[in-house]
């Protein structure tokens, strides 16, 4: 589709510029960027084709419903496996992570952009970016050995005083390896994404809006609420979506921290949870031929989910643009 558009622009548009022929460097560069763009499409198509082809054997031999089964036994005879638990776990952990990360990430970005002194804001921005450079295995080990024991009292407190809310209920009286802990670690991991993009978006807010609202007597909070946030809503949403994409696909940290059970559980303070990416990491090494195919099928579903998330993000950003008042 996009190539057709380019073709038309190139074919019809170029001669109109003074009728002169296109400079060779110009032509070469055009081909170069087309090649770059096509490469991305080819890679994505290759991934999609690989996932579909490799997952078909397991999907066709599955003796139970791929969507409803709450167990993972693709190598048994007959094979029986389902991805409901994995989809739920992936989304639920990521949602918990985003609920925690969004206020902190956007808050950090606002602080850096509008409150901190220039020197502090540079330093803080640097530290937040540094967080993105920490490998996820480090987050996993840190979460498992250092962070988890610190969070257990919080989980106990939540279960004791808010246990009447179903998601905080803890019938096992165990507080480790929970979705809450995985969500917290994931939140820290997506924080730099959310914060860095929000910061960029806040920088785009026209100086005129900011200064005129202050000149009209607005407090700093009113300025942020009435000038900054409405303008940057679309950008912040896309920051959230990109962060969500990272949270959905995170593998090794989740695999280390979660207890990885094969049942749907909402309870975030007790051991449990699972995710598509973590499940692949945990099962791949010992999986048989059909097991691998089934794991690839779950990868296909994750691919589709991530695609859907990104497309939703685009759609929201495009829609918001019209109402942002920026034009």
């Amino acid at each position: 589709m996009s190539t057709a558009v380019k073709e038309r622009q190139a074919g019809g548009g170029a001669p109109q510029i003074g009728g002169a022929s296109i400079h060779p460097a110009d032509r070469n560069f055009r081909w170069l960027v087309i090649a770059a763009g096509v490469t991305v499409l080819v890679i994505m198509a290759a991934i999609a084709v690989f996932l579909v082809v490799k997952s078909i054997p397991a999907i066709t031999t599955n003796s139970t419903s791929m969507w409803a089964t709450e167990q993972w036994a693709p190598d048994s005879d007959p094979p029986s496996w389902g991805i409901a638990v994995l989809i739920f776990g992936t989304l639920w952990t990521a949602v918990i992570a985003m609920i925690i990360a969004m206020p902190i990430g956007v808050g950090t970005a606002l602080f850096i952009s509008f409150y901190a002194s220039p020197r502090l804001s540079t330093a803080l921005g640097f530290v937040v970016d540094l967080l993105a450079a920490v490998p996820s295995i480090i987050f996993g080990l840190w979460g498992l050995y250092f962070f988890m024991p610190q969070i257990v009292p919080l989980s106990q407190w939540l279960a004791t005083y808010f246990g009447w809310i179903p998601i905080f209920e803890n019938s096992q009286d165990l507080y480790t390896k929970s979705i809450l802990i995985a969500g917290l670690v994931l939140a820290i991991m997506v924080l730099p994404t959310v914060s860095a993009i929000s910061r960029e978006v806040f920088l785009q807010v026209p100086k005129g809006h900011v200064e005129s609202s202050l000149a009209l007597g607005a407090t700093r909070w009113e300025m942020i609420r009435m000038a900054v946030l409405p303008f940057s809503r679309g950008g912040v949403v896309s920051a959230a979506m990109l962060g969500l994409g990272r949270a959905l696909g995170e593998t090794i940290a989740v695999a280390l921290i979660l207890s990885a059970v094969f049942e749907i559980n909402w309870q975030i303070t007790e051991p449990g949870g699972n995710s598509i990416a973590a499940n692949i990491a945990l099962k791949w090494g010992e999986a048989g031929i059909n097991g691998r195919s089934a794991l690839i099928a779950t990868g296909l579903v994750l691919f589709a989910i991530t695609l859907a998330v990104n497309m939703t993000a685009r759609w929201i950003v495009d829609r918001r643009k019209e109402f942002s008042g920026a034009n």
Binding site: Q71, G288, I289
Partner: protein
């Protein structure tokens, strides 16, 4: 990591000073060349020790074993990338057909049991030493029907211990593993009414907490008071906060040791055909001093028809060293379990039957 476990190999390698292909006084027959192998991570430390000893004695040979997991190892063998695959459960059925297709001229693919192991039930309970469990209590704990340490069933086998009224924090493997496969096979065979989740590489029972790999399971048990988990014997020998429970197999309490586990493995029956030594372990053994929760890991290769570039002669020589007295003695010092008795005779015959040309 490999360096710290390889000190025991010096005695065997020093005796094999021969160069070239001549079989010398030692157990090592040198064959030049290089082979690649991959598979089970459970036997990785044993293989690493053997590789170090073999390569020290035979500078002309290189053996590269990648502990990528049993499934991945068998896959690598099927796609003709490796000379032999290490696997926690014998290659059989559909996989065997695919793997045997690698062997030219209709050669058979054979499973050779070479490294035994014991699965210890590791616990961390303040003030309790020498915990004794039986198959029913182990099954109950891991099936979540026994949830307190002072459950009457546990008290019954530990009359002299002061068991606290604490919730049992139970840890299992969250990743697929041969350890889980063998452990659940044991539970299925010995406590079928309590353990109703069948056997397999993936943990199927509800409750408890999953940890990735034996290293994380033992770390979780060591770290968590009032906890229990199952790991290969070597992990609990190295652990500081966790101890191995003795198992009462019906013939009295048996400590988890290499010697006690070897007794059970030696009594296994061969179910494979010909020189394929696929084993069936008798988990329900009541023999005094036979530790019942054991596993056997296999090396899978072609009896004949292995491609020349896969160097079948070196495969035979290397596996032959593993099956030698020196090779098997190495296993004990690293927490593995040797193959003994008649079974060892069959193993050596199977390795000798590998066609090298």
């Amino acid at each position: 990591m490999a360096a710290c476990s390889s000190t025991t190999s010096s005695s065997s390698s020093s005796s094999a000073g021969a160069s070239g292909a001549g079989a010398s006084t030692g157990d090592i027959t040198c064959v030049d060349g290089a082979i690649q192998a991959s598979g089970s991570s459970a036997q990785a430390n044993a293989i690493t020790d053997w590789v170090n000893a073999y390569q020290t004695a035979c500078p002309g040979s290189t053996i590269d074993y990648q502990p990528v997991g049993s499934g991945a190892g068998v896959q690598a063998f099927i796609s003709k990338q490796v000379s032999f695959a290490g696997t926690d459960s014998a290659v059989k059925d559909a996989d065997l057909a695919k793997a045997a297709a690698v062997c030219a001229n209709g050669g058979a693919g054979i499973n050779i049991p070479l490294v035994g192991g014991a699965i210890a039930v590791a616990y961390n309970l303040d003030g309790v030493d020498g915990l004794v469990l039986n198959s029913e209590t182990v099954a109950g704990i891991f099936a979540n029907t026994i949830t307190k340490w002072n459950d009457p069933a546990i008290v019954a086998t530990n009359p002299n211990a002061t068991l606290p009224d604490a919730t049992i924090a139970q840890f299992h493997r969250s990743d697929s593993s041969g350890t889980t496969d063998n452990f659940t096979s044991y539970l299925t065979a010995t406590a079928p009414t309590t353990w109703t989740y069948g056997s397999g590489k993936d943990w199927m029972a509800p409750g408890g907490q999953g940890s990735k790999g034996s290293d994380q399971v033992i770390a979780s048990v060591s770290q968590t008071p009032s906890s229990i988990g199952y790991v290969e014997l070597s992990y609990v020998l190295d652990a500081t906060g966790a101890k191995a429970a003795a198992i009462d197999n019906g013939g009295g309490a048996v400590e988890a040791t290499s010697e006690n586990a070897a007794t059970t493995i030696a009594a296994a029956t061969v179910t494979g055909t010909g020189d394929d030594l696929t084993l069936k372990i008798d988990y329900t053994t009541k023999e005094p001093g036979a530790y019942p929760i054991v596993l056997v890991t296999y090396e899978f290769t072609c009896q004949s028809g292995l491609a020349a570039d896969k160097n079948p002669a070196l495969v035979q020589a290397f596996l032959g060293y593993g099956a030698s007295d020196a090779g098997q003695a190495n296993l004990v010092s690293t927490g593995y379990v040797p193959i003994t008795g008649d079974l060892m005779t069959k193993v050596r015959a199977a390795i000798a039957s590998i066609q090298t040309a």
